[in-house]
């Protein structure tokens, strides 16, 4: 046996070349049968783990990209949803307003608030229509709940509105049931109140205060507030009534300017 091993060792170069030739020949001469088998063996033994790894990495990068795209979609969808929800709310408000009958000889111009000036309470607003849309000074501004204020300054595209919460903007009002007339004012400390009422004026909590129509600025009958409580010291000639405004000035959004159609 030793001589065989010695013979192999001495001729290992020749044996190697012969063996390589024996292996090479079928690969070279049988492209349709042996080569695919060899390729299959090498591919499954050497390439397969790496091709799986490559596919995995590729899949992972696709998932990352998809994730990024979906996040963007979620943001876009949530924006669309918010816009839709806002449109639904606006639609509801506008539908509610559809039932509103403007006072006689007045027409309604819908406006939007561009900016709201706040000083503890909102006191003034800039609206998105001006003299180009027939908006003029002293026109009443309302929303679907009642009187909001009046136009005090007009620009071509914008107008300034003084709200009822502006202390320098008193309104002549009356108790809807008893027809007592007084002045509705606003004080930052006390809130909205009805002033200049005689001490024996008849009213009860919850009575509606409406515009009196006196003074020529506001038409009669616009809701201003509801009576909350009253104070009158013994011997006082006049009485002060505390009011709850019909309009929540912190939530005003769509407004309507009443434009007189009288020539």
């Amino acid at each position: 046996m030793a001589w065989i091993a010695t013979m192999f060792y001495r001729n290992r170069r020749l044996i190697s070349f012969i063996l390589a030739f024996v292996l090479f020949w079928p690969i070279a001469l049988s492209p349709g049968r042996i080569r695919p088998i060899v390729g299959e063996i090498i591919a499954s033994a050497l390439y397969f783990p790496f091709s799986e790894l490559k596919d995995y990495i590729h899949e992972l990068s696709k998932v990352t990209e998809e994730n990024r795209y979906l996040r963007l979609q979620v943001v876009e969808s949530s924006l669309q949803l918010s816009a839709q929800a806002e449109a639904i709310r606006e639609n509801r408000r506008l539908r509610e307003f559809l039932g509103f009958e403007p006072p006689e000889n007045f027409r309604v111009v819908p406006v939007k608030i561009v900016s709201l000036l706040q000083n503890i309470y909102p006191v003034a607003a800039i609206i998105n229509k001006g003299s180009n849309d027939s908006i003029a000074v002293d026109q009443p501004v309302i929303n679907r709940f009642g009187l909001v204020g009046k136009v005090v300054e007009v620009m071509p595209e914008f107008a300034n509105v003084a709200l009822l919460t502006d202390p320098s903007n008193p309104v002549s009002g009356r108790v809807a049931d008893s027809r007592q007339i007084g002045i509705v004012r606003f004080s930052p400390e006390k809130g909205l109140y009805f002033d200049n009422l005689p001490a024996d004026a008849l009213f009860k909590a919850g009575d509606l205060i409406i515009t009196s129509g006196l003074g020529g600025v506001y038409p009669a009958g616009l809701s201003i507030a509801k009576i909350d409580s009253a104070t009158a010291e013994k011997g006082d000639i006049l009485k002060t009534i505390w009011l709850t405004p019909a309009v929540n000035f912190f939530e005003i959004d769509e407004l309507y300017v009443l434009i007189s159609e009288k020539k």
């Binding site: 292996l23 070279a28 492209p31 390439y47 091709s51 490559k54």
Partner: protein, 161 residues
């Protein structure tokens, strides 16, 4: 001849062809790792080791294009034996000598392979693929020789920063 390191080299080759080649390719030029590994093994190992490794590398490299498999085996084994003989007959202690052998083999291997695959003009192929790939493959070869000769050590790299 311990066989496990060579099997790992073949896995490295498969990894290169599957993943690495795409990642490191610059305008279509990539490292010819098969030729690089065979040259290095042929320079530092004996003839039979280089021969059998080149044979196996030829099969691995030819798996992508089965029609080229016999050619790959022929080129790589032939050059492995040739480089081994050259290395034993001339003094290759200088890096330049090894780089010249490597460059020669890379150019010939790239040229033969690309001529078998492509039908475009020879000069265009040389300019567009063969020379850039050869230069690109020489860089890791050069770094390997520097590390092998201990001219580039970890301490020297650290000293640069």
């Amino acid at each position: 001849m311990r066989i496990i390191p060579y099997i790992l080299y073949l896995y490295l080759l498969a990894f290169h062809y599957t993943i690495l080649s795409d990642l490191i390719s610059i305008y279509g030029a990539t490292v010819d790792l098969a030729a690089l590994m065979i040259t290095i093994i042929a320079m530092y190992k004996d003839e039979l080791t280089a021969f059998w490794f080149a044979f196996a590398a030829g099969i691995v490299a030819g798996t992508f294009r089965l029609d080229l498999m016999p050619w790959e085996i022929l080129f790589l084994t032939g050059f492995a034996v040739l480089i081994n003989h050259i290395s034993r007959r001339i003094n290759i202690s200088a890096i330049t000598a090894r780089m010249i052998i490597l460059a020669g083999f890379l150019i010939v291997h790239e040229t033969l392979t690309i001529l078998l695959i492509s039908s475009e003009s020879f000069l265009y192929l040389m300019y567009r693929y063969v020379l850039p790939s050869t230069v690109y493959s020489l860089i890791p070869g050069w770094v390997f020789f520097l590390i092998k000769d201990e001219r580039l050590t970890w301490n020297e790299i650290k000293a640069q920063f």
